[in-house]
Symmetry: none
Subunit: 229 residues, 4 copies
Amino acid sequence: MPDRPVSEFLCPLRAKRARRKEARPGELLQAALDLFVDKGFAATRVEEVAARAGVSKGTLFLYFKTKEELFQAVVTHNIAGLFVQWEQEFLDFEGSTPEMLRYCMRTWWERVGLTQASGITKLILAEGRNFPELADFYRREVVKPGQALIRRMLERGVTRGEFEIDDMDHTLYAVIAPMLFLMLWRHSANACVDAELDPERYLQALSDTVLRGLCTPGARTTLSSPPAS
Amino acid sequence: MPDRPVSEFLCPLRAKRARRKEARPGELLQAALDLFVDKGFAATRVEEVAARAGVSKGTLFLYFKTKEELFQAVVTHNIAGLFVQWEQEFLDFEGSTPEMLRYCMRTWWERVGLTQASGITKLILAEGRNFPELADFYRREVVKPGQALIRRMLERGVTRGEFEIDDMDHTLYAVIAPMLFLMLWRHSANACVDAELDPERYLQALSDTVLRGLCTPGARTTLSSPPAS
Amino acid sequence: MPDRPVSEFLCPLRAKRARRKEARPGELLQAALDLFVDKGFAATRVEEVAARAGVSKGTLFLYFKTKEELFQAVVTHNIAGLFVQWEQEFLDFEGSTPEMLRYCMRTWWERVGLTQASGITKLILAEGRNFPELADFYRREVVKPGQALIRRMLERGVTRGEFEIDDMDHTLYAVIAPMLFLMLWRHSANACVDAELDPERYLQALSDTVLRGLCTPGARTTLSSPPAS
Amino acid sequence: MPDRPVSEFLCPLRAKRARRKEARPGELLQAALDLFVDKGFAATRVEEVAARAGVSKGTLFLYFKTKEELFQAVVTHNIAGLFVQWEQEFLDFEGSTPEMLRYCMRTWWERVGLTQASGITKLILAEGRNFPELADFYRREVVKPGQALIRRMLERGVTRGEFEIDDMDHTLYAVIAPMLFLMLWRHSANACVDAELDPERYLQALSDTVLRGLCTPGARTTLSSPPAS
DNA sequence: AATGAATGAGGGTTCATTCAT
DNA sequence: CATGAATGAACCCTCATTCAT
């Protein structure tokens, strides 16, 4: 059953307009996300956000009192429970941990890296200092659960005798860093990277390298035949 | 013994002014670095830079024609200028390539990562798109030489039979990404990282991991006894 | 009956604002013309233009993207736009060419010379070098069409056997120079002219002199009875 | 006997420097004239004037309290008794008045039009409104004597039966206007003129036209054989 | 609720003028 | 006298925010 408001059925003529009205904030948030990610907070003009959402500048200020409030809404609105699905997949996974790590990286790329969700990370990194509450929120909702998930994977590998890890805390970041890098690369490529970089191949090369570094001699044999993508 | 120029003792009346004039660019560069890193390029007002350096707005423009030129001078002074030394150290280095890589990462951390210079990278990532000339300059003066240096190190390892590298382009980024990560971590710590992260230990763990991934079986034995930091 | 739009009567509440909006560009153009002519282009501050038109600085930039564009609009509105009418009058004119020339000079005086538009010419002469784009625009929109029109009149005279012209290019300027002179005279009277100069009589004397110089013996008889002004 | 100051002979070592010192104002005035004529008052930077005169910005302000004072000095300094020589030549001239007028125009072009003296006219026209005392001065020293001279030439022609002039006052300007035009053309060519204009030929064509307009039928025969330039 | 015209506080940059040396 | 480093008042233009309609 659709979640449209009752009023719509009472007065069908008003339906479309009413629904648009309720959709406004969402359209504005989407437009703002695109622009903030692309141009940063300072360089994004509210007028452009409004135009992209198909409304006038004044209307935007009906929904968001200031530009800063809009920015905060953009970030909070786009940070959702991204990790529910992964949690389940982690529990259900039956293969080897290297495979699991590979799988996880690949799906992360598809679900986050490639989508606009990765733009939020860029935003937080770029503007976080000026929005401390946002940064806290992000850490609580994204950083913590994400790190916990990866940590559990690494621990699974150790437990199963597949990985050899001296310093868990920092090995963790050896996995995270490249993903962060890829997100930034997507949104700031012009500034950072010179050569052509193929994210998929990069992920492949990366997991090869990292895994060779992590794996115990026995487990390393598995790596010689990586599953075809 | 102070390092004031001799002329000062010959003509003490001119001392104060002359010394100020010579010191100006440095003071301005320092003030600019602080503010650029703290607030970003767009949000930093030149007047504030001038004020922090103890001069008026007009004076700043005596030394730097535009805000962009000021930024470029900051980059040159704090990062780009370091490559000369690294180049030389690379040529003079006589140890094994894994050691070289470790040494390079450690000095990079001391000279860039730990200093405010690392904030420049964050700034470029955040605002590069809005200031294409800045991004171009940064890429030309920092990214290119930096990547070239690392690439030559990796190639040295391959040549000497110490490294086994399938995909040079992407392995390159496997080295760069963690350093980038550390820089971002320092300047967006509140946003990214939850646990305490000790950069030195992280670098150690990282190079262990990466090097174990890179090294040929023979060379790997070297890794067991890392040089005392 | 006033020429207010009908919509105003349908929605009187919107009247004042709407009318103001439509009138703005005109008010701004008038204010700009006054100030440009009085103080020159460089010395005129846009804020003063806005103030004279009764709006704020920002409002001016809603209608004209830059100060230069404002100037171009002033030129178009006050001079360049007049050539359409002159072109038509030229095509429709049925009298002799000497009469045509006289008529053209007189209307030029009424429509440009007497109005503040003539101050634009002085401005271009004084500042054209410093604002090449303005000079280019003026030449394209005013000088070229104006010269073309006069040239066609002179050629018409030659074709009809009324004029005898050895050196067309320079004869052209023999006609233009006095008009230029009159414009300068009006806007620099204190500097140039001592005696009282009656522009109308000057034009009369001028066309007498020039025409006597241009006309073939046969055509010259026509001149003895100039049409009453 | 040279007009160097006595001090120079008392202390020859100081001679060069002293003479330079006395020459300073002149060098500054020359540099300022060039630049004011070229770029106008507002667009001329005092620093550039100083540089062109080979001194520092501060030195300029030792001689001229403000930029405006410099401008006024430039104009007054360059307006001299230009008409003494012409007066004499007028009295000595023995040919026909048309020849005299031609001669006068040609020498005017050589002595004024082609030299920087014509720049002063442009300056007065362009900036006169903002410097009323200067304009008065110019009118008294230049405009009045110049007009008187021409008027006397025209009257000579009438007296000798060579010219037929209905309206002396305005015919006067028929002669002046083209000369004014030529001066402006030289200093604002880019703004005004499209085609190539050869001043010498223009003066020729002009005097032909004007003279044909002025001359009585009898005198006109003289014009058929203009003296070779 | 929606509009978009209007505002005005800055921001980067220039340059006449001052003044310590 | 001469210098040139330093100043700060403007200037053009932008854009978040307001408010009459």
